[in-house]
Symmetry: C2
Subunit: 516 residues, 2 copies
């Protein structure tokens, strides 16, 4: 016979799962041993659960199959919840396996005991607790199906330790189970087509799979023949852009600017996106960014089949020719006088190779890089979908493991880097082809802006100390080196260019601290 | 008029709150400004929420008043939950103030939206959501009362951003409100006294406030005249020990050893402790560590007035003389051949000054240090109460801010250090008098032991890779230096002695990486 843990692994293998990001503890030791015995599932140790879940998100966004995580009890799970929040918003397929105390042990309220099922339920789209060793095979198959349903989701299986270590009665390995996705509503496609033919100012407000290259080509053609604009959500999970791609305007972060972009539209068609709203509320300002008189319809909800909706709409409109408007390759001039995000963006544009993946947690610095890389080689841009900072480094790591032949660039603000900086160790260990570009401005710069925007008055020194990362200044180069990554600190444009160019031409982890 | 945030701060000041560990975001900017304007509440920035809550725990354990935390929405709160779990088990008084989106903004499901009240409720002993600006004063006073009731607890107030920025209608600052604690049950005191006079093998199984010096003196006297033994919980929040103190046996971590310690007892009297159980379950082993035939009574529950129970029992037994058996000062011989936890413990014994506070997250290495410091100068020993690793550095930091005139030593394992290593920056910034002794054994050593104990078979290399912290080896000295702390790496006994002695004689942050 085999124990529950081994039966679970057999099923994961049958479902095609290939990777497990892990930060296990005592209650998961049987699962650890079962993973060690598997020749199909690769275990990847991360030194903090926020790295585990962020890496699973990066893998999930760039892969057609879910990553598995292995987490330890309620406290370990809670450490991973912030990046699960981002993953949920990104619709990443993730299967969490969380060990709990042995079922009979819970009643004793040992120190690590907590109500894990309630917590897992809070954070997940699907959650079940195994009731026996025999449950594990069928439930993990169900979890994989749940994670790959809709456009992806968070499935969490709680595994009491005794069910992992006790033998199953019979070995039943379910076959691979496919997720399902709701088809687009036929009537809505016709409605959208009619709206596009009215000649009114119309915006296609898009996110999710609508931002993948082939869907963008359809949308580009639709826009060209109907005069509609394409605007994407401020924080999409994955945007395919750059040379040869159909250009998409990204909705600005600040509500005033976003409102200006949307002010002129009479009609909005949502495709894999929800109605755009302000990221935060501000005194006296509206939360909804769409003009009052704008007519809004949903062509595809975030959980629906977005590709079918887009192609259905193209068919209905008789669009057959490929989009004509594509980005052309262009490298903006580089001004060598001052090292700032803009020039960093231009150098990134110049050197990043085709098919690069960018994990953008650059926050205030990231905006300029995004603007400067529109005409870079074709690439995927991954954003902070849920706003829970500490995503950037783990996401880059996971994306790199999903796409080992592609260069990954992590644009990283200093403040948010410190939430999950342990990711650097895993990047080094797995020799992931990730180049981190860290912007050291010694500040939560965004919060200094927000402080003014919420009308909190003129801040005093004590107030500002809560938004300030100086005293002491963090030496990120040394921090990164301490975890085994070749690292540089640069404070001139020339030095950044030299180091970045080298990083693009060399395989493996690199870290560049940019003093801005 | 004043806004809700300022009204809240006025009340916190009236309640005597002196410190706020903060990691704020946009939705807390009005609270940040109000804290900046307060001349009584000291803001302390931490770079990750797990540091915020761990520091609040350390402060709470060593102070007679609660620390306040300032956290950002559901994701920020979730990042702090692991150390709140530990704090809850330690009965630390903590008041969490968590900003949420403006009340009217929640309906729009902006990216950072989540069900914060449900999450806060899960993690707290008391939780309320403010319904208006006028609520904030009375609710924060209630939160302080809740946090200081029983023997301390976690109170969480959710503050929607609009209630912080809108004006209150009238300023009502509640006066300081004291918590309350359930008195001991009179009948149980008599029962315990009778049990102690039967001559049967009896153990006083103690935790919480029973481990403070004066209570231990009563317990020591009781033990001496009745022949009972004193054994404390494996992971107490705060144990006062060392020279001049009444010795207490600590229940071993491993269930087999703990079972042996308790095997001979016919009677157990619980004082501020619950029935001892195995930390984890293991196949074929009992969860409860108390012999089947042992009679157990509870003199004081964890939430009851433990001091009143202890003194009540002493009175009932007619104990008036102070305990005779106290630890004497003794420095064990130091063997200079091999640097290991035992010799590190002996050197710590030799040099640590009176009144030191020890934060012990040394895990496998911590056990030897504990054993070797029984006869050190008097000190407080703080343990990992809830088993959620990542407590050690933040706890040491918070304890140091509560007791700025006392030396703090953080005994830190390498694996657990990486969960909240950002604490080092706050230690440096606040110039906290903390000496970190980090044991670098390049391994989750405890998990290698547990792997064998759960009967998971002979591990292969792939399995062991999930428990291994080498490849790359982390350079903790460089890591600590990168955050502004004077740091050393030592690999000989002589070097450790030199550096540790210097650290004990110098005020301010020091970090010693011990290669073991």
């Amino acid at each position: 016979m085999m124990n529950g843990a081994k039966a679970l692994l057999r099923t994961l293998e049958a479902c095609g799962v290939e990777i497990c990001f892990a930060n296990p503890g005592t209650s998961e030791m049987q699962l650890v041993a079962a993973i060690g015995d598997s020749d199909k599932v690769r275990p990847v140790l991360c030194l903090f659960e926020g790295v585990v879940t962020g890496a699973a998100d990066g893998y999930g966004r760039m892969s057609d199959k879910p990553a598995v995580t292995l987490l330890h009890l309620g406290s370990g799970f809670s450490n991973g919840m912030a990046n699960l929040h981002n993953a949920k918003r990104a619709k990443s397929p993730i299967v969490n396996i969380v060990g709990d105390h042995a079922s009979y042990h819970l009643q004793y309220d040992a120190p690590l005991t907590s109500d894990l099922p309630a917590l897992a339920d809070w954070a997940s789209d699907w959650m079940k607790v195994a009731g026996s060793p025999d449950d594990l095979s069928s439930l993990i198959a169900e979890a994989v199906q749940a994670a790959t349903s809709g456009n992806g989701g968070i499935a969490t299986l709680v595994v009491p330790a005794d069910h992992a270590w006790n033998d199953v009665r019979e070995i039943v390995v379910p076959q691979s189970v496919d997720g399902f996705v709701k088809p687009p509503v036929e009537g809505v496609i016709g409605q959208a087509a009619e709206m596009l033919q009215t000649g009114k100012n119309t915006v296609l407000f898009v996110s999710g799979a609508a931002l993948l290259e082939t869907n963008l080509e359809h949308l580009g053609s639709i826009a060209e023949i109907t005069g509609a604009d394409i605007v994407c959500a401020t924080f999409p999970g994955r945007l395919q852009r750059g040379t040869g791609r159909v250009p998409v305007r990204r909705l600005p972060y600040f509500a005033e600017q976003a409102g200006e972009v949307l002010a002129a539209y009479e009609q909005m068609i949502l495709i894999g996106a929800t109605v755009p709203v302000s990221f935060f509320a501000y005194p006296g300002k509206s939360s909804c960014l769409v003009p009052d008189n704008c007519r809004i319809i949903t062509l595809a909800e975030v959980d629906q089949d977005i590709t079918a909706a887009v192609t259905g709409l193209a068919d209905r409109l008789g669009v057959t020719t490929p989009a004509a408007i594509r980005r052309s390759r262009a490298v903006p001039d580089i001004n060598y006088t001052t090292l700032n995000p803009q020039v960093v963006g231009r150098i990134i544009n110049k050197y990043m190779p085709e098919n690069t993946i960018v994990s953008d947690e650059g926050v205030t610095c990231g905006l300029a890089i995004f603007a400067e890389t529109e005409s870079a080689e074709s690439h995927d841009w991954l954003t902070l979908t849920g706003g829970a900072i500490g995503q950037g480094l783990p996401l880059a790591f996971g994306a790199s493991l999903a796409c080992p032949d592609r260069k990954v660039i992590a644009l990283q603000a200093d403040g948010s880097a410190m939430y999950t900086v342990q990711a650097l160790w895993s990047i080094a260990r797995e020799e992931a082809d990730v180049t981190v570009v860290l912007f050291n401005n010694r500040s939560y710069a965004i919060l200094n802006i927000e402080l003014a925007r919420v009308g909190a008055g003129t801040p005093n020194a004590k107030t500002l100390s809560m938004l300030d990362l100086s005293n002491p200044d963090i030496n990120f180069q040394a921090l990164s080196e301490s975890m085994g990554i070749t690292s540089w600190r640069v404070d001139t444009v020339e030095n950044f260019e030299t180091r970045f160019r080298d990083a693009m031409q060399t395989r493996g982890p690199r870290f560049i601290e940019v003093m801005v």
